[in-house]
Assembly symmetry: C2
Homo-oligomer: 353 residues x 2
Amino acid sequence: MNNKNLNTLNIFLEEDDLSNLNKFLVKNKFSKIFVLSDTNVLKHCYPVLIQKCPSLLIAEIIELEGSEENKNIETVTQTWEALIALGADKNSILINFGGGVISDLGGFVASTFKRGIPFINIPTSLMAMADASIGGKTGIDVGTIKNQVGTIIQPNGVFIYTPFLETLPQEHLKNGLAEIIKAGLIADKTLVKQLIEKKANFDQIILKSVIIKASIIIKDPHDKNVRKKLNFAHTIGHAVESTFLGTKKPLLHGEAVAIGIFVESIIAYNKKLITKSELNMVQSLIVPYFKMIKFNNKHFKLIQEFIEHDKKNSNKNVLMSLITGIGKCNFNIPVSSEEIEKAFTYYHSAIGK
Amino acid sequence: MNNKNLNTLNIFLEEDDLSNLNKFLVKNKFSKIFVLSDTNVLKHCYPVLIQKCPSLLIAEIIELEGSEENKNIETVTQTWEALIALGADKNSILINFGGGVISDLGGFVASTFKRGIPFINIPTSLMAMADASIGGKTGIDVGTIKNQVGTIIQPNGVFIYTPFLETLPQEHLKNGLAEIIKAGLIADKTLVKQLIEKKANFDQIILKSVIIKASIIIKDPHDKNVRKKLNFAHTIGHAVESTFLGTKKPLLHGEAVAIGIFVESIIAYNKKLITKSELNMVQSLIVPYFKMIKFNNKHFKLIQEFIEHDKKNSNKNVLMSLITGIGKCNFNIPVSSEEIEKAFTYYHSAIGK
């Protein structure tokens, strides 16, 4: 494993205390420290953070609702206004303390406030630790279309402290697992094997997932080529997530990604990029563990519309990143709407609905 | 003169046709072309643009109100939504066609839409040609505080075609002249001489101004050190502009910068950075030609408050860029509120009000 990439991106896997975070805050003499977080995280995780990191006692807290429904420009504007009211300047730092919604939105706020102020991520969910807090993609939704607006900018540091996971409900742990499965499928066969055999603990699989992501991002921070591999499962995943965003039953990002993993693997199988036994392996990792939704015609029409809007498309082609084996992935593969429809038919019969 | 910097930043001074723009649009096969502009520019300049550049016949037009009052997040959101509705993808280009408000706002829209799509600037005002369209600073106002939010990203091209100036009212020409005077004062004594002797035409002084700005930006695109020189006149200028923003008598950016040039030169003189005769030279370039406002106590209190919020401040110090001679400038110079007050007293007596 290559930890050099983690150093380059200032990613720290903290041991039993938060010593790297403490050092970072002492070394950089920020004029003010702001913590962006949500009600739940402030209640369950903030006391631990303060105890381990006393320099944060003087921090100003900006509290949001950390749900996908609030990952929009109104919340961004409120946060800019809060920073102005609290006297933030170019030498202030924003600490995004929470799950993926907080780091996506907080990163966008910091990268645009006064044309960019320093920011770090302290992820508290498995999804954010293994995926969302890494790589510098920030974003907000426009209407129900996911991440239509954002920036790409590396945070000044990412500090991963796994004891925060202890407060997380079961469904949120699964949410993170989907991105870890995706990381294994595109780049690391042994990680997939560990996941199947349930032989690794969270610390180990988070580390592996972070290393996979970091090594890809170092090669292509601005998403021009190999970084697109990380989009595997996300063309379908985002479209499914958008379809249920704002309804009474919104999906967690990882729940949508799990469906995306399976459906896009079916597309890969139909294109003869993977074998039937490889598809079956994917199915066995996903279907028994994640919520598999039965889509009606109305859902499917919406999914197709969202795919049209997918930011990964170019010149009207639907371009997907698809696995070409377990631990291998290719990108910019054109997929027709007929192929998508055929994959959903297979999906529905496989989930038995 | 060094034109190499212009090439590096893809800045083109078009001769009697728009051949570089034509080549650029033909060479890059964009999926769609969007033109962001305002009512006036569309009426007076767009017919010329279309005639010179037939590839734009298929462009979609997004029409805004191009005034500073509309340089805000609501207008940005409307533009994002228009791009979505019109089917923009990552390979679409946004052409900012207008003055500084259009390129500031359009650059921000493009740099954040789908985490960044290509954009170019075609400035139509003297201010935008000589200054705003160059350098990659994008920005919008939050409330009445200028450019509190933005990004720094170089446009894919800037195409300067001076015949567009023929439609510009006199006050808007003066507006642009303020930034050209500033450019000369911080970096080019001979340009200042030309301006005093009224010996150059617009093409010549625009070219000089652009070369000054480009050579500074190449050295420091992200505003960490020497680029700060370009902020000369803008700490006071922005505070004055903000004070009148949203009132019945808003100032043009250049009108506020002209006042900023004079007041900050007085501060430089009081700090013994320039001589009395150098200050008199600045005064003779500004006072007879620009609107010199008499500020009452209420105005002055607001100006002081806006200076507090100035994005160029750091760690609560007010740091200014000040000329240290004609054609020379230094940055990060701490200035106290007493020094600012003293300069305004001098200003008021000099303008005879």
